[in-house]
Subunit: 351 residues, 4 copies
């Protein structure tokens, strides 16, 4: 059995890690770290865990934890993981960091968008960006994985094959994203109150959201050049789920014609037909967040607009699963040589 | 592997059976019956099942189905199962009927409350009322199980220990129940439209809901006498979940005093401490439907009101799981000698 | 024009007062009191008021305010209004207090249920309980009105005619109430976060909610004797609306028969047929909170259960309007000799 | 008093017309047309109208209706209004058509996108496109007004000033729209059931939605040239509200620099500062649908992305009010020489 520790076990992503790992055959959780609830029973924080988890919350002592477990998940605010990381920890234990600390390779970009100083930039290079479908082989060898952001995972996987194959003009790429409210975390803040979110939709972080450079960097690798996009997140009155709607101008063929549906479909299939967790939907079936709820799937599809020459790509995932905890477990499975889908073969729940 | 067939596989309860059985190690579904969607791919009806279920919907031919499978689940409108049942079927296959057809022992009560003629009353006596926590041993030997209603399961299990032990005056029992909208089924009816349900709560079926006689019959067995209750269901703007709030006057001790918290708690524990799927919550923790969502749990607790001499009992379950498909699988497990919780060890999902 | 001041203008009840008074022909708001937002534009706190309200929030200085306005609404936490009240204020200005400070005549009951010391018990007797339909004449003469609680208004008006006429056994009265989340206020507390409330229902304050003694006191006056009830509130995932479902044993006639539908209906009509804001629904039409949303109406109806001899009474209102701000304006209209429905003839909004 | 008739009074837009006209001082509704509910009391269809509307639903006999009223609102399926229109009707009565029948000037475009034959193309030219803020003077003189679509109103008003002034490259314009579920109408269809919409978001009508040519035509007039856009609607789990997020590349100045915030703001103010129902929000305040709920406001704002050279424009309105019934009343007010905001000074409701 792999022994796991979670720092930040009482946030929504941490709670989902507990849900997933509790049902994972090869893992036992040895440490429920939560600075806010030290010494309180975990099940008193998350009533769903009553009679399932008997443990009590512990402090977020990474050094001590590193001695006791095989893998640590850090589901913590930006900056925490970077501030406590050191060689001793990395020598003892594998790390899956759900924060943004090691996602962006250019530390100046990180520091600019996050507005904080990075405390351990020396580990950024070694950290593997844990988007399993793209970086699978690197993840297998990693001791430090930067688990991608929720918007990022959805935005990248939806466009990746077309960017990689040069089928769209990346200078025209626009990502309009919609997220359920769990993405805002469990902090008691006025804008996240029920009555403020319910019966409401709004954009936020327009032209300034921190997932922007992460998307740009990763899609830039695929494109083989720097790219800049517009990314606009919206808050939707639902608990879980992210839907992205992406717009880009298609690269025309030498004769000026657009690629056909079948040609685009073939490209998606080339990258995803063997990917268990990416489902390319059938023609004219559009992704819905409800169809992936509670599961590790990303559903993608696209529509070509002959009139404007653009393609509209759509992707849906559960932000707490494939957008956070599920992907973290998928990374862990790879790092420990387990079956990649172990503990993640959850059938989406409907309704 | 147990071969299973589902009649009514495209309703919400049928869909949940598919979700549960797909994740059940000992079962394979051989027949997705759905009169409305014959020859359509099951995954085109329920997008969550894309790349998980490849089958196509079939007709509801029970006789043919009985030859092909070991167990049939009928998630069909009232009257259907009774209308097709015969000895030949029962000789070949085990039946778990999710409709009300065999739940009520007195056929005249059934015909009065449901307003239809019962077409095979000869099987009512043999049918076992499949509330596993109460009729476990009978279920094991049954070939025909009447799977309890959603409201009924919640209402009965919440009050059962106190009724059984004579701790409440059953003549005072009132059940005020609140249900998510999936309980209303997937029929395209105006009152179930999003805009009619959302931001709204109402009572319905007041003093006339069909689950009333079912609760009365089963609690009557526990009490050892006929009982009559008030049962009022309400429609709540959420997908899943039933909460019942039950009121009854406590039986006072010879000295006129009320039973204490500890005494009542001991009675709940007597019946439920070894029941995996019934969780008696800790003192002052009140059941919330969200804490059982997606799982087979029923959470119960109570509060004594010293002022009025009443006890307020509360219970919560997921109407689609423990209130329908989960309980059906639990019954199947018992009927086939499997571990009772096989395929049902789903951790509730939060948020 | 009546000059009005609001203390607590940035809570949900305060915000609704602003919405109503802004549309009231005879009133102008001169003071938007909000300790949390002093010097901030009111419309920056409530975006709906942009270009409608240009004022800036002020402190909660009652003494100063009393000199500037004709009426003060206090939509403040329990204890505030009592702590600042004095003769000078009451000599200058009329007060509608939306808190509980002057609702309960027996100060020891108040102090026990609210757990705070009452700082100005000398004004309790003079304060008029502002349930306009019952205390209309007293309200007209009052200078200090205790505006009833949201649950209380709904619970009392639903049962009042039958209690007053002795048609139910008040010892059997049980009130099961369901409320939207705005009733929990705008404080940034974890249990009120979107993801905690959404897709969830729970009871709270079981056998201990503070509106219990208020209901008991007022219905006790109607009954002409002390009464004790069970009152159980529930939190429902919607913004606005309260539904109460009340159970009581009907008083049988000398011949042992139950009153008929027509007899009960006649009693409701006796009290409410001239009441603009109480709508006794037609037979078999059950109240829904959505049908009163945004308006000052209370919809009530009932169902007799011949089997159990009980009556099930139901009532619905908008907790922010008739349950708070609307009733406060109704009281103000009475106190100033205006048409009682002035500014309150809002048609409920659907959907 | 203006006598009004409504055809299609029991749809959501029709219901909202009733709500608005009931509160309009200069109008009385004489005809509640609803083919589905003929001879049923209107208040039995919409419980909110109990004791407010006493009338009974009538047939949709336009010829008869034209004799009895001064203005007819047709809130009917596409094709109906065109199929019954004739000179006699237009000579007797003013028409505000809430369907799309007279919105698109090029009948071939209408017939292509709507897939039906237009039965009275001879009236298309005379019909005035009733976007009051743009066509005010023409509306005043019209006898037939084509009331704009909900998505259209929001999409056009959000971009109009910049298109008109040539500040954006219209070839790059993309409109990503999100709508509450009332926009889907009150028909009993499976995709609009509560459990299908709740906790879900999806795109629909991608590259094919019928409001596309309407937006293109109107913005084309502003641009002085034909334009083609991408328009993608999404279904959001809420009752009311549309939010549009629009992307376009800004026209750079001769020196290659982008227009400043102040310059763009000045253009919005030029067109909207005297418009009561269009609110240009303060810098960095982003539109939220909740802030306009129940009112006739459109809230707009924008953000310049210096990195990509694009502007992100946002607009929010209540689809049932400014997107349908409210705009229809605004048009009626203009047509009859009333104050434009008569009956529409409704303060948005929060929460």
């Amino acid at each position: 059995m792999i022994k796991a520790g979670i720092i930040g076990a009482t946030g929504y992503a941490g709670g989902e890690l507990v849900r997933l790992l509790t049902q994972h055959k090869e893992v036992e959780i040895k440490w429920y770290g939560s600075r806010s609830y030290i010494d309180k029973k975990y099940a008193s924080v998350y009533g769903n865990m009553f009679e399932i988890v008997e443990d009590t919350c512990l402090d977020d002592n990474m050094e001590e934890l590193a001695k006791q477990v095989d893998v640590i998940f850090t589901a913590t605010p930006q900056g925490f993981c970077a501030s406590v990381m050191n060689d001793e920890i990395l020598d003892q234990v594998k790390i899956v960091d759900l924060s943004a600390d090691y996602r962006i390779k250019d530390v100046s970009v990180y520091e600019k968008w996050y507005g904080i100083e990075h405390k351990s930039p020396q580990y950024i290079e070694e950290a593997v960006y844990g988007l399993c479908e793209i970086n699978r082989e690197d993840v297998k060898k990693a001791r430090l994985v930067a688990n991608p952001g929720c918007y990022t995972t959805c935005s990248i996987l939806t466009a990746y094959p077309l960017v990689k194959e040069g089928l769209i003009d990346t200078a025209t790429l626009i990502v309009d994203a919609k997220s359920g409210t769990s993405g805002a975390g469990r902090g008691a803040k006025l804008p996240n109150l029920y009555c403020e979110v319910n019966e409401n939709i709004k954009a936020y972080g327009v032209a300034s959201h921190r997932h922007t450079p992460e998307i740009e960097e990763q899609l830039g690798y695929a494109a083989g050049k720097e790219i800049m996009i517009n990314f606009t997140p919206h808050l939707v009155p639902m608990n879980r789920g992210i839907l992205v709607t992406e717009y880009a101008t298609l690269t025309r063929k030498p004769d000026g014609s657009l690629p056909t549906y079948e040609e685009i479909k073939a490209v998606y299939d080339k990258y995803y037909k063997d990917e268990k967790f990416v489902r390319v939907l059938e023609k004219d079936v559009l992704p819905e967040t409800k169809w992936v709820e509670g599961s590790n799937y990303v559903d993608v599809n696209f529509k070509i607009d002959e009139r404007t020459g653009r393609i509209i790509m759509m992707g849906a995932l559960d932000n707490v699963v494939k957008g956070a905890a599920g992907q973290a477990v998928q990374n862990m499975n790879l790092m420990f040589g387990l079956k990649e889908s172990e503990g993640l073969e959850l059938v989406p729940m409907f309704p």
